[in-house]
């Protein structure tokens, strides 16, 4: 075990994948100079340009700022023998390539009757919570969950970031990885040997019996912190991190809620048609009779993200807003009025 940051773990997974398979290449804007910190040394954001020296310009490719062209070329390359990892830097830029994601990447295998396989990973960072205003603060993974043919991961810990990325690179299907910048500096012990976290398998971040909180991406540590608070009042909270949003580990979610009878879903995306909405509907459809209280979603509101730090901080789920939701489903009195984000 070695202490790795979330970002360092991504770099380590990329290095392992590049070493393991010559067909893996990294393309994206500014990857040669390691501007986003995952094409440098293994452990942290250091050793600028290290990947370039190690793998050369043929496999580490700086691109022009042409997201549509990049995503399409990566798809074509994946259909013809490469296994590209595409670094799209911020998730907000995925929209530039929407046609390629939706019409080519997601549909080609299906439309062509299985002739195409699409072994490509599109990584992007959700840059919210950093006071960068509405053009850089998106958490757009639910839009892509609505596109059959894409697989979606949203790791919340360094170990998952490493292990899921390895599985993503090894997968023959196209995968979008949404990485929360708020987690970049999170550190934990990570196995420095190769390991793979399987796609579609949730992680139980905390075991409990009274309430299930399904939390996504940066809401996972917030949910765990809320659970620890509630434990002091005798409420036992189970926290489930799906880790993969497509395919979703429905069984793990249903099993937990069947046990606890109460569900709170927390995520940093917008409320309407979000992952939380999908998970809520799943539970309501499948195990309505197990529910002892209404399901509560804790999400970002259906509102754009304001720039001012004083405004932005109320937009995403926090341990306070998640704890307030938990209190409601177990009928504890509210501690204080919680205005936002519920």
């Amino acid at each position: 075990m070695t202490v790795m940051s979330y970002l360092g773990a991504i770099g380590a997974a990329q290095r392992e994948a590049m070493d393991a398979d010559e067909r893996v290449i990294i393309i994206g804007e500014d990857v040669e100079a390691n501007v986003y910190g995952t094409t440098g040394g293994g452990k942290s954001r250091s050793d600028k340009g290290d990947f370039l020296q190690r793998y050369g310009k043929n496999r580490i490719r700086n691109t022009p700022i042409s997201e549509e062209g990049i995503v399409g070329a990566a798809a074509g390359a994946a259909m013809t023998g490469l296994r590209p990892i595409v670094d799209l830097s911020y998730s907000s830029f995925l929209y530039m390539a929407m046609d390629q994601f939706v019409n080519q990447v997601a549909k080609n295998r299906y439309m062509f009757g299985g002739q195409a396989s699409m072994p490509v990973v599109f990584r992007s960072a959700m840059f919210y919570g950093l006071n960068t205003g509405a053009h850089h603060s998106d958490r757009p993974y639910p839009m892509f969950m609505n596109v059959p043919g894409l697989k979606i991961i949203a790791p919340a810990t360094p170990s998952d970031a490493k292990g899921l990325l390895r599985s993503a690179v090894d997968s023959d299907d196209p995968i979008l990885s949404f990485e929360a910048c708020l987690l970049w500096s999170a550190k934990e012990d990570v196995d420095e040997n190769e390991f793979w976290v399987p796609l579609g398998v949730a992680r139980t971040a905390r075991v409990g019996t009274d309430v299930t909180v399904v939390a996504i991406s940066s809401s996972v540590p917030e949910a765990v912190a809320a659970a620890e608070e509630l434990a002091k009042e005798g409420v036992s909270v189970e926290v489930i991190d799906p880790r993969t949003l497509v395919p979703l580990d429905r069984d793990a979610i249903l099993r937990s809620v069947a046990k606890t009878g109460r569900l709170v879903v927390a995520e940093p995306a917008h409320r309407t048609c979000g992952a939380a909405a999908e998970i809520s509907a799943l539970v309501a459809e499948e195990i309505f009779d197990s529910l002892k209280a209404p399901i509560i979603r804790v999400t970002a509101p259906d509102m754009q993200i304001p720039f001012s730090p004083s405004l932005e901080k109320q937009m995403y789920p926090t341990k306070v807003t998640i704890a307030a939701a938990i209190r409601r489903v177990v009928d504890l009195p509210a501690l204080q009025p919680v205005a936002a984000a519920v």
Partner: protein, 327 residues
């Protein structure tokens, strides 16, 4: 141009005849309701399609657009599974899940036709990238229309191909209309001249109904690509005889009769027949090619007719490589 082998010349005419016969039959089948939806024919554009596809090697890649049947036929894809795909049969080249707009035959390097104008251009560019990274000597070609030439993704792709010296050919089928819109009313300047801005050769084939002229231009681009010297933009001037799509009735006459008549006089199959006749091909042999193409199309329709429709469960296959991931 180097002298072409007799077999190559013969094959060129046969492939053009195949496309014509296939599309004429497909047109009828749409009108009779035997093909669901619609199709876009390449009738009139056979020289442009075959000149380009035959300049490619068997292992080379291509992507195409909605005017979609000629490309795989020109690349050598058998007609039966293509026709069955148009009808929506289980034996279709895409198992009945693509249809006319999404023909693909990876066995001949056809990486797929696209219903979204311009969208498949970067796919071929990516195939050229993989060829470059894997150093396997393959070349890729993207077919697109004069209408698609105004999509931004073309220029993103040309820039990347240029800066990376990709073995890539951008082939603009300039049939002078995008649906009802005359190209000159929406296109600033000459399409092939845009290549200069990306530091790559731009070639305009004015005699785009002459299969040898197209073959010659694309062969040069292929040779350049294979030598590692990078991409080329080839614009071929041509004309579609039929309406934009079969069954479409616009009620406006956006093309005039004189224009059409002038192009009909330069019919690619007729022109090449004259050429072949003056180069040692007998009338019998040339008639035989025509008969062969028609018989192949008859056989393709018979193959389709005899094929079952897909099992309903097929709709739920092939989304991912594993079935469990599909909801």
């Amino acid at each position: 141009m180097a002298e072409l082998a007799r077999d190559t010349l013969r094959e060129m005419q046969l492939r053009m005849l195949r496309i014509r016969a296939f599309d004429e039959r497909a047109s009828k089948m749409v009108k009779r309701g035997h093909i669901p939806g619609t199709v876009h024919t390449s009738i009139g554009q056979e020289a442009q399609v075959v000149g380009a596809t035959m300049a490619l090697g068997a292992g080379d890649y291509m992507s195409g657009n909605h005017r979609s049947h000629g490309h795989p036929i020109g690349k050598g894809s058998p007609l039966g599974p293509l026709m069955a795909e148009l009808v929506g049969k289980a034996t279709g080249v895409c198992k009945g899940k693509g249809g006319s707009l999404h023909l693909a035959d990876f066995a001949v390097g056809s990486l797929g036709e696209s219903g979204i104008v311009g969208s498949s251009i970067p796919i071929a560019n990516g195939a050229a990238l993989s060829s470059k990274v894997l150093n396997n000597g393959k070349v890729a070609l993207a077919f697109f229309g004069d209408g698609a030439a105004n999509q931004g993704v073309l220029y993103e792709s040309m820039n990347m191909a240029g800066v990376w010296d990709l073995p890539m050919i951008f082939l603009c089928e300039n049939n002078q209309y995008a649906l009802s819109t005359p190209a000159h009313t929406v296109t600033s300047g000459i399409i092939s001249e845009r290549a200069a801005g990306f530091g790559m050769p731009g070639i305009r084939v004015e005699e785009g109904q002459d299969v040898l002229a197209v073959y010659d231009a694309v062969s040069k681009a292929v040779a350049r690509a294979r030598a590692g010297d990078g991409p080329t933009l080839v614009e071929v001037m041509t004309y579609r005889y039929n309406e934009h799509s079969e069954g479409l009735r616009l009620g406006t006459d956006y093309r005039n009769a004189e224009e059409r008549d002038a192009w009909l006089k330069k019919d690619p199959i007729m022109l090449f027949r004259h050429y072949l006749a003056s180069h040692g091909f007998s009338d019998d042999e040339l008639d035989g090619l025509q008969a062969t193409a028609l018989a192949e199309v008859d056989a393709a329709v018979a193959f389709s007719d005899a094929s079952p429709y897909p099992d309903l469960s097929v709709a739920f296959d092939d989304l991912y490589t594993d079935k469990e991931s599909a909801a």
